[in-house]
Amino acid sequence: MKKVIIIPAAVLLLILVAFATTGAYRVPTLEVEFVEERPAVVKSVEYTVDGLTCRGKSRGFAGMISGVEGIVSLTTYARSNTAIVEYDPTLTDPVEIETAFEGPIAHEDEEDFPFKAKK
C-alpha cells in the first residue's frame, strides 16, 4: 500500500505546477480605449490597486478615471490587482489619475468601489 503516497504527492506537485505556471501568461480582465484617435505621445503608468479584484470592479475603476482629460486606455488584471493606464502627458499625469480613483470623487462611491493604490 505504499502507492497511497502517490495521491498526496500528486496533489502537492500539481498545486505547485498550477501556481508556478500562473505567472507564465496574463490575460486582461478588462481593456478599455477611451479615445478614438491616439495622441502623438502616450505614456503609461501601472498601479497596484486594493479592491481591484474582478471585472465589475474594473468597470467601476474605468468609470472613475474616465472623467480625467487625457486618459487614453485602461487595462486591468484582477489576479494581481493591477491597472495599466495610458495617458497623454501633455494633459494629465499619474498623480491626477490616482486622485481620480482614490480621491474625493472615488470616496462618494467608497462602499462599492473602495480603491486605494498600494505604495
Binding site: M1, K3, V4, I5, I6, I7, P8, A10, V11, L14, I15, V17, A18, F19, T21, T22, G23, Y25, R26, V27, P28, T29, L30, E31, D50, G51, T53, C54, R55, G56, Y77, A78, R79
Partner: protein, 259 residues
C-alpha cells in the same frame, strides 16, 4: 492510510477556514473561491471566445482546473476525498451518522442510480446560465454550498435562501452520505470521464477475498467493491476506506497501471 488522508484533509480545511478568518479580519481580499478549480472551467468559454476573464476569474483558476484534470487522470477523484473541504465536512458528518445509525443510510439502488445523474443536469444548468443569462458572472454562488459555507454564510452574493441551501446540505449529509458530492456537485460530473480512466485504482484479489462484504458497507459512495475485480467506478474517490476495514491483508490493493 487513514491518518495520512485525515492530515491532508485537515490541512486543506484549515487553509480554507484560515482564509475565511483572515477575510473577516480584513487581512485579505481572498475568499474560498480564489482557489476553486471549478471557476477555471467556467472561465474557459469567455477566455477562448473573447480572450478575457469574467467576474473574479483569472489564470490561477484555469491552472488549478487543468491540474485537477491531470490529478483525476492519475488518481481518479482523489480530489474529492483528499482535498475538497466540502467533501471533508460531508464525510465527517457521514461518519458521525454512521456511528449513530450503525451503518450508512443509503437510498434504494434504483433511486440512487437516477439521482447520480442529477449532477449532469446541475453542470449543464450552471455552465449554460453562466455563459448566457448571467453573462459570465458567477450567479451560481448563491446556490453553491461550498461558497455559502466557506464564506461563513456572509459572502457578498449569499442570499436569504442560500443559508437554507448551506445548512440543508450539511443536514442532508447526515442522512445520505456525501449527498452533495454524489448527486449534485457539477465539478464531480466534470471529473467523471477522467475518473473512469484513472490510472491509480483498487484491485480486488479474488484468491484472498472472502466475500465478507465489509468493504461495500464502508464505502461512503456505495460502490460494490466486493464484487469488482477492479474498481473502475466513476465515483471512486480513492478514500481507501474499503482497504482500511478489509480483514484480509492484500485482498484489496492500490495499483498503478494495473501493477
Amino acid at each position: 492510510m487513514r491518518v495520512l488522508r485525515t492530515i491532508v484533509q485537515a490541512l486543506f480545511l484549515a487553509g480554507v477556514v484560515a482564509i475565511l478568518v483572515r477575510g473577516a479580519m480584513g487581512l485579505t481580499t481572498s475568499t474560498c473561491e480564489t482557489y476553486c478549480p471549478f471557476a477555471g472551467l467556467v472561465a474557459l468559454y469567455p477566455l477562448l471566445r473573447y480572450h478575457t476573464y469574467t467576474c473574479a476569474m483569472n489564470e490561477l483558476h484555469v491552472a488549478l482546473f487543468v491540474s485537477l484534470v491531470a490529478l483525476t487522470l492519475i488518481t481518479k477523484k482523489s480530489f474529492c476525498s483528499w482535498v475538497c473541504p466540502l467533501g471533508t465536512v460531508q464525510e465527517w458528518i457521514g461518519k458521525a451518522s454512521r456511528k449513530v445509525f450503525g451503518r450508512y443510510v443509503r437510498p434504494p439502488v434504483a433511486v440512487d442510480r437516477i439521482l447520480l445523474n442529477l449532477r449532469y443536469v446541475v453542470l449543464v444548468l450552471v455552465l449554460g446560465l453562466t455563459w448566457t443569462v448571467w453573462q459570465g458572472d458567477l450567479g451560481f454562488r448563491a446556490y453553491d454550498p461550498f461558497y455559502i459555507i466557506f464564506t461563513g454564510f456572509q459572502g457578498h452574493e449569499t442570499l436569504w435562501f442560500s443559508i437554507f441551501i448551506g445548512i440543508g446540505v450539511l443536514v442532508a449529509a447526515f442522512f445520505v452520505p456525501m449527498v452533495w458530492c454524489r448527486y449534485l456537485c457539477p465539478l464531480s460530473a466534470v471529473m467523471d470521464p477522467m475518473s473512469r480512466a484513472g490510472f491509480l485504482r483498487l484491485r480486488r484479489n479474488p484468491g484472498l477475498c472472502t466475500d465478507c462484504g465489509i468493504c461495500d458497507e464502508a464505502c461512503p459512495h456505495g460502490i460494490p467493491v466486493a464484487t469488482a475485480d477492479e474498481v473502475s467506478a466513476r465515483n471512486c474517490t480513492n478514500c481507501l476506506e474499503c482497504v482500511e476495514v478489509c480483514p484480509e491483508k492484500g485482498a484489496l490493493e492500490l495499483t498503478l497501471f494495473g501493477k
